[in-house]
Symmetry: C2
Subunit: 567 residues, 2 copies
């Protein structure tokens, strides 16, 4: 049976446990369940009582495409509620290969040392490694690969996480040593607050995982991988990456522009996936598109965005970051966005939250929109750990409160992703009603824009609810949301694979219970954490400030909003 | 019938209204009721939908001692819940004399001008007075007295309020032109956010107020005034002011010391009321004790604290400010406290909240405890409106969050007053359970320390509840809490006076319904504002960090806490 690894940072002790009732839980289902079972809902998120739970999805460790994401959960210092953030990279598979179902990081180191949790086939140990202290995520990852080999999986925090900044993310290396981020909700700050700088996983010498019915699993998995590979959306993602939607979001009037003042941007074309692809092709060198962020992924939406000399600026440049660091900060070119993105990654921050915070800061006069130097100067304040840097690094809400803004684009304390809720109202429902706060990955209605009018006041609650359930289910299994095409149209693929791997008896209907049960438990946690239904709302200005060019406000009825509740 | 004055700062229009159902409501009962009736609980406290309600108590305008306080209420930007702060000064009486029951400030001025609301017997008008912009409260008051006469009542905000800093207070001039503050909860920020700098009330030429039975009223009032004058507590207050309790709180081990790290302070003697009295006597000049802050008050607990040349440093120097700016910041002398207090007053900040914020800032390394220069430098940042200044000026919670503190002495977002809840547990109950957040005036158990063991785990809930009800009733009537001696031992004084003035039929039992009904409505507002019972708590560290010298933690059961709920 896969084990639960419990790491007590107060005492530096490690225990292995097993728990029957967690058998059929993985990814977000497991991080949320352990958080619910073990974390006092009312606790201080950066205090001794919170925990960081790390869990691969239930389908991790197989040949499946796009199913090796790693979930990182606990109580969020941004929302004060439960949070799960997941990302790609190689750690998910490797943790599973090491026979580990979840890692629980608890307590808090009292010495001032920097710790690395090392996992391999022989065991698990905590290593004092002060040479990593306050290093950026890139250098941290490079140093750890140097020490432990290029093939290890690494989850680490940057200086932002070590310093407890609420916008801090957890970085995860991909097959090429580039970084992905479990970014939302400040889980990097929680990990950093424990005194844990990194987790290094080496799966060398581990055996194959157990299957209930391997032949059956392989049959379905291969079928699914093939379906996914030929899905036109996958093809599009390979070429343009997630940036492929820039123009469509702009056309919808939902592209965050200059601190969510406008919904479209005259330079959107310059920030588009098409432009990205063209630039990568033209500049060559290390530039590349169509890169997988997890081994075996057939979608391959990642890219390496190169500078004029073909050197890598950042990998990967994706839609949310382009929206929040690009149009939202008034930039008309991808080079600036890429450079800001690189710096934010290195600090170990969530680019969405930081983009929102910078947008508020620029609007309040701490710099000029479209001026890379002023944005870099603000990020440098974070690097230097000044008070101003700590303000920005603590996210959009604190930045806005400190600076006196009445236009803070957050829900439940967390910054808006790249879809203004006034022009894509379904996402406004998700931001307000999901236990995750303003997180598009909790139920993104953009893909349904042709089914439900994004500006309409009806069907939005139901739309968000349905997506929340389905997406959460994928989060439990370790799937990337871009794998949803074949999975949503044929859910028996999902239940079939889970049953073949685990010997369970899900069907195409009951498989979604994973999502339903998970959101239910999350909602329960939040209520016990003091997040009452009165907090299921958006910031006041979106209810009265019209968003050009659609001149729409967020105007859904309370009844419509409540249709999205999963309880 | 007394009128309700409605001032819409968006349109700069003023309307007079009357409302029968408000007849028997005054002070906090009225500010909370109007807030409940008119303010959307879920609104943004510094946004257009919040309101500032200003109301004298129900017994205002009479010859009664200590009953002319003015209540200022609305939704607090610190607690996100309902708030009322009251203070002395001359405005309460003058507003009543002008036939006004309450002033409602609503909307928000969109121009960048500075407005003064002028009230006299002939009417009410809004005057653009940009020469006052960002002036300190002392200069603002001086300029307004120069313009409108020494006898006007003035309620004004300083630069902190104009800039929307959440620790901002409303200043109120006393009979000698010195300032008192309706300090807690950030109502100054709400007033400032409307674009209103000051209210000037001139009662010259107004007639006497109406009595239902004047003879009866005068009989009871004179009796009460006499009882209060001979009360030994009043005598003590005359001599030592509220600072008279410094040594007793220190002996209890509840004196906030160095950011609530310790409960006693080796230099407490140097900060005591006795030392204050001795210094005032020795230095002479403008120094004085035994000054009334409201006309006709027989307690006269105010003082003028002079420098070595006999010039006024600040008036008045009182217990809470000595605790929060003195021992809590590590000072061993009253001169430093007085100078800091003066500066905080002039900025228009709450000295308690600012003391808490400074304590956190010093602990996090932004200065040294006991170093006046570093504290003054931080206050100067507020004056200059820098980002650091805005952090501190937004109160202890934001300061602590930005600086990464895990020891933030707040409940419901508001800084602790001068009694560590670990050594005076009844006050911990009040901080956690009162709709007002950490506010000692909502139910201070210090006076009952000989009846209920301050360190005990029983009877605290009931004690806090009883005091909350009684004190709230005094808040509704306009009474100072130092008048409580004769009133609590003989409540028929209260009901008798109210009945004689208003023709009502309260008795010594039903009079407390004023308090009960008010807290009930406040609690209801808070719940609708999203403050769930899970937020009825103290910061995590007080539950496990032992407070020297008693080495006590806050350890009341949930059941005990719930005994303080008034619903």
């Amino acid at each position: 049976m896969q084990k639960i690894v419990r790491v007590d940072m107060s005492t530096k002790t490690i225990k292995n446990e097993t728990k029957d009732e967690y058998k059929m839980l993985g990814g977000r289902a497991l991080t949320s369940r352990i958080t619910y079972d073990e974390v006092e809902p009312n606790c201080e998120p950066l205090g001794i009582k919170n925990k960081v739970i790390i869990a691969p999805g239930l389908l991790s460790g197989t040949i499946l495409s796009s199913a090796s994401r790693i979930s990182i959960g606990g109580k969020s210092p941004l929302t004060n509620g439960i949070k799960e953030a997941n990302c790609g990279g190689v750690s998910g598979t490797k943790i599973t290969k090491c026979g580990i179902k979840a890692i629980i990081i608890e307590g808090k180191s009292c010495d001032n040392n920097c710790y690395v949790l090392k996992i391999n086939k022989d065991g698990i140990s905590l290593i004092e490694q002060n040479n990593l202290k306050y290093l950026g995520t890139y250098e941290t990852t490079a140093k750890l690969r140097e020490m432990y080999g290029d093939n290890v999986g690494i989850l680490c925090v940057g200086p932002a996480g070590e310093r407890g900044l609420r916008a801090a993310a957890v970085a995860s290396n991909d097959p090429f040593g580039e970084l992905k981020f479990a970014a939302r909700g400040g889980m990097g700050a929680v990990m950093g607050s424990k005194g844990l700088k990194a987790i290094v996983v080496d799966d060398e010498g581990t055996g194959p995982i157990d299957f209930y019915n391997k032949d059956e699993f392989m049959r379905i998995a291969k079928d699914f991988n093939k379906q996914l590979a030929v899905d036109p959306r996958s093809k599009n993602n390979q070429k343009f990456g997630t940036a492929g939607i820039v123009k469509a979001v702009n056309a919808l009037g939902a592209l965050p522009t200059k601190n969510f003042r406008f919904g479209s941007w005259e330079f959107a074309e310059e920030l588009s996936g098409e432009k990205l692809y063209e630039t990568v092709m033209k500049r060559g060198g290390r530039g590349k598109t169509g890169i997988p962020c997890m081994n075996g992924c057939v979608i391959r939406c990642s890219n390496v965005y190169p500078d004029e000399n073909g050197e890598c600026i950042v990998s990967t440049l994706q839609y949310e970051n382009i929206a929040l660091l690009g149009s939202n900060l008034g930039f008309d070119n991808l080079d600036s966005v890429a450079r800001l993105n690189r710096e934010i990654n290195d600090l170990g921050l969530d680019a969405i939250e930081t983009g929102c915070a910078l947008g508020v800061a620029l609007e309040e006069g701490l710099g000029q929109f479209g001026d890379e130097a002023s944005c870099m100067a603000l990020l440098n304040e974070i690097r230097k750990n000044t008070v101003l840097g700590r303000v920005i690094g603590n996210g959009a809400l604190i930045t806005g409160k400190v600076l006196g803004s009445c236009r803070i684009p957050v829900a439940k304390g967390q910054g808006f992703p790249g879809y203004d809720p006034r022009a894509l109202k379904g996402n406004g429902v998700t931001y307000a009603m999901s236990p995750m706060g303003a997180d598009h990955t909790a139920g993104n209605c953009f893909g349904a824009r042709n089914q439900v009018n994004p500006l309409g006041t009806e069907e939005q609650g139901q739309l968000s609810k349905g997506l929340q359930i389905k997406i959460t289910t994928l989060d439990c299994l370790g799937f990337c949301i871009f794998a949803r095409g074949p999975l949503f149209s044929n859910p028996s693929l999902l239940s079939g694979m889970v049953n073949a791997l685990w010997g369970s008896d899900f069907n195409e209907n009951t498989i979604w219970d994973m999502g339903i049960n998970t959101v239910k438990i999350e909602r329960k946690f939040n209520i016990e954490a003091g997040i009452s239904p009165a907090q299921d709302k958006l910031p006041e200005y979106v209810y009265y400030e019209k968003l050009p060019p659609m001149n729409s406000v967020f105007d859904l009825s309370e009844e419509e909003m409540k249709r999205a509740i999963i309880d």
